[in-house]
């Protein structure tokens, strides 16, 4: 076993909705580097998907992933920090005077799904290599792949679950009990060579559907560059199913891949 450090390699890929500009992309992810290698006892990363209907949701999604990944608070502290994150959001979006409709949008608030992953090296006395734990609100999803096989999906496990409107973390002061009722948590062991994908809803739904209908294992294994990622997204948005719907819904798409070193 390779010492006490967990070696991870993270790759990030993103693209806005077809027809939108890159600055209109409303997902967020952390780390932000296209490729990052890290070694340590613990590693964190996250994706968030700002809701299309709200304004300034990209800023909100960004605050959530930064707080979780860069500052690495405990989960209790992370959720305890929401009121100050909400203040930070309000401060950021009202820094300039706003027209009447934007004021209205600020009052309605911004919303985002959130998925955070923590990887931890097991202690020296443990027989395990490492473990993962994840927290999610909404429909951004985590997938664990081992030897080309999908072995865990969280929090959604079937493509038809993407139809309903998910509960999202909002900037308006909410009933914290309600938020906790919609919070999903999971954990499990991981092995050297495992791959984790953190995906926003459109591509998560696509991956689950491929898995269900074509028993595809790791359909994203071949993505090794931003160009390859964009080509796949473009191609899959154009492919229609029997009902005439695109295989990949036109939405912002984010893919964060974490490979565990052997």
């Amino acid at each position: 076993m390779a010492g006490n450090a967990l070696r991870v390699c993270v790759q990030t890929f993103w693209t806005p909705k077809a027809g939108n500009r890159p600055d209109e992309y409303e997902d967020a992810f952390w780390p932000q580097e296209p490729v990052l290698e890290r070694a340590g006892a613990r590693f964190r990363c996250a994706v968030a998907d700002g809701a299309t209907e709200s304004s300034f949701s990209a800023a909100w999604a960004d605050l959530l992933v930064r707080e979780f990944s860069a500052r690495q608070p405990s989960l209790t502290r992370f959720f305890g920090a929401l009121p100050s994150l909400r203040q930070a959001w309000l401060h950021r979006v009202t820094a300039q005077p706003l027209p009447w409709y934007a004021e209205d949008k600020v009052r309605q608030g911004a919303f985002a799904s959130f998925l955070g992953l923590t990887l931890e090296k097991a202690g020296p006395k443990s027989r395990r290599f490492a473990s993962w734990s994840a927290v999610a609100v909404g429909d951004s999803c985590l997938f664990q792949v081992r030897d080309g096989c999908l072995i865990a999906a969280f929090p959604l496990t079937r493509s038809e679950q993407f139809n309903s409107r998910p509960y999202l973390i909002g900037t308006a002061a909410t009933n914290e009990e309600q938020l906790h009722a919609h919070l999903a948590r999971a954990r499990g062991p991981c092995e050297p060579g495992d791959t984790f994908y953190l995906l926003t809803d459109a591509i998560a739904c696509w991956l689950l559907r491929l898995h269900e209908e074509q028993a595809a294992g790791d359909a994203l294994a071949g993505i090794d560059s931003q160009e390859a990622f964009e080509a796949l997204v473009q191609e899959q948005r154009a492919v229609r199913d029997a009902e005439g719907r695109p295989w990949l819904k036109n939405d912002d798409v984010t893919l964060l891949r974490v490979n565990l070193g052997r």
């Binding site: 027809g19 939108n20 209109e24 209907e53 304004s55 300034f56 027209p99 409709y101 209205d104 036109n250």
Partner: protein, 287 residues
């Protein structure tokens, strides 16, 4: 499949409102019939009630299209008044415009009024809050009901629009009236509007009839059978069936919409006007 085109800035859609501005719109809004006896009259005229409903709808539409960077032109919107004359009915800087992109509407209300609104105080009570109420359209009531002329103008405006936006989600025309046409049978003019089409389907024409008496509204009927008179039956026939996505919105709102359900309300009170406008303008596929 029709009525599935994506509504985007490169492929926007269009709403056109035809507003009856005849003299009878000066009449007060009748009280809604209620199980507990007649409700008190509101003291407002039908023209004022419709103006409020249209202004609120425009406000909601702007907010729906507002994003962090500004308002996205998902829609072009027109308001055509018909009474003493048939003409575009925006007030202020947009006066005379047949159709305006929603971003222009957002930036150019005739004025922004302040109105008070009762909101939940979070402790089981209500508090009064001042809200901004942008106004684009003012109440007018005089003259007859030249519905044929209004429908002909709508056809001309939309023919030009469709020439420029052949692949758009089909325009939706909502005609709000409190009485019978005074310039002839509107059947042909209405059909000519409904015969216009984009690659994604025919133009939808919905009719919203305002009550002059305190009568229960008939919302989203699916046959002429239960309608009280020839005029109601005529308006039913002039109304387009709801496309599938809108049927499911109507069902979510508690209406028993069937394949034959049409976009039509007879004897509408203000509650059903607002509900109808909400259902009729909710987007199917906004990017």
């Amino acid at each position: 499949m029709p009525y599935t085109a994506e509504i985007s800035r490169t492929n926007p859609s269009c709403f056109l409102f035809l507003i009856d501005q005849s003299g009878s719109m000066e009449d007060p809004i009748p009280a809604s019939p209620d199980a507990d006896g007649p409700a008190p009259a509101s003291g407002r005229t039908k023209a004022e009630g419709v103006a409020d409903a249209i202004n609120r709808l425009l406000q909601n539409l702007v907010i729906k299209c507002a994003k962090s960077e500004g308002v996205r032109d998902y829609y072009y919107v027109g308001v055509l008044g018909y009474g003493g004359k048939v003409s575009p009915a925006f007030s202020g800087a947009l006066a005379g415009k047949e159709l305006a992109p929603i971003s222009e509407i957002a930036d150019q209300p005739a004025r922004v009024e302040e109105r008070s609104k009762k909101v939940d105080d979070g402790a089981g009570g209500l508090v009064e809050q001042t809200v901004k109420f942008p106004v684009w359209f003012d109440p007018i009531a005089n003259g007859g009901t030249p519905m044929c002329q209004a429908l002909n103008s709508a056809r001309a405006i939309l023919t030009e629009w469709l020439g420029q936006h052949p692949g758009c989600f089909p325009p939706i025309v909502i005609n709000i009236t409190d009485g019978e046409s005074t310039d002839g049978d509107p059947t042909q003019a209405a059909q000519a509007v409904q015969n216009l089409a984009s690659d994604d389907g025919n133009v939808l024409l919905f009719n919203l009839h305002l009550s002059s008496q305190s009568a229960r509204p008939i919302e989203f009927p699916d046959s002429e059978a239960g309608l009280p008179d020839k005029f109601a039956q005529l308006l039913f026939r002039l109304s387009s069936p709801l496309p599938e996505y809108m049927r499911s919105i109507a069902q979510q709102e508690g209406f028993a919409a069937t394949q034959d359900t049409r976009g039509f309300v007879f004897n509408a009170d203000m509650v059903s006007v607002i509900r109808f406008l909400d259902i009729g303008t909710r987007p199917s596929n906004l990017r």
